[in-house]
Symmetry: C2
């Protein structure tokens, strides 16, 4: 029984170490924040095509390490007209350099262009 | 030995379930994205005071569930003058409603005001 307990403790420690490592790695991600607004008159269907096309990129570009997005719901009215935020994470600047001119990314930009009003991009290495 | 293997498998499954749950929860966060630029002539010391004061908020306001920030390093030149991104997460819109008028948040805004040039805020419920 003692051996089992020791074994379980070791496994427990291993799990904790992996978690801590993941936590540490997650603190080291390069964030790529893309804000978008759409041309007046863009239909919900046209906007959905863009949302879906962006959300497909992580399946097509392996350098995207994490991805999420959402629609502005801030009550502060400081969004300067931007309605959409896409939040892309990379493990390195090298991976970002592969992403930016990637054919799949370029194809997405072509989908976006006809309906896009404004774009703002800010990237940062995440610190806590 | 068979029992140990079964026990280990069950523990493994438990760990996976907890991970999956955390993953699911992390997909449900309300993100609060704050972009800042500073007045021309602001010194690095003045800017550091703001960075440090913002980074102190998670210790003072328990409704902040996650926090990270960083300085723009995008090569795309689409950052519209914004240099800083602060990325705050809440578990609910109720928690955000506590944060926004919170005395510690208001005290931070007073620290920020004298050196701030522009601010942009966009919030979203994260989707994948």
């Amino acid at each position: 029984m003692k051996r089992i307990v020791t074994l379980l403790s070791l496994i427990g420690l291993g799990v904790l170490q992996v978690s801590a490592q993941n936590e540490k790695e997650s603190q080291k991600l390069l964030r790529h924040v893309v804000l978008l607004s759409f041309k007046e008159g863009s239909t919900p269907d046209q906007i959905k095509v863009v949302e879906d096309a962006f959300a497909e990129l992580p399946k097509k570009i392996k350098e995207i390490k994490a991805f999420e997005w959402g629609i502005n719901n801030s009550p502060e009215n400081l969004n300067q007209g931007f309605t959409h935020c896409f939040f892309v994470s990379f493990a390195s600047e090298k991976d970002r350099a592969i992403y930016l001119p990637h054919p799949e990314h370029k194809a997405f930009v072509e989908v976006l262009k006809p309906v896009m009003d404004k774009v703002l991009v800010i990237d940062y290495w995440s610190k806590n």
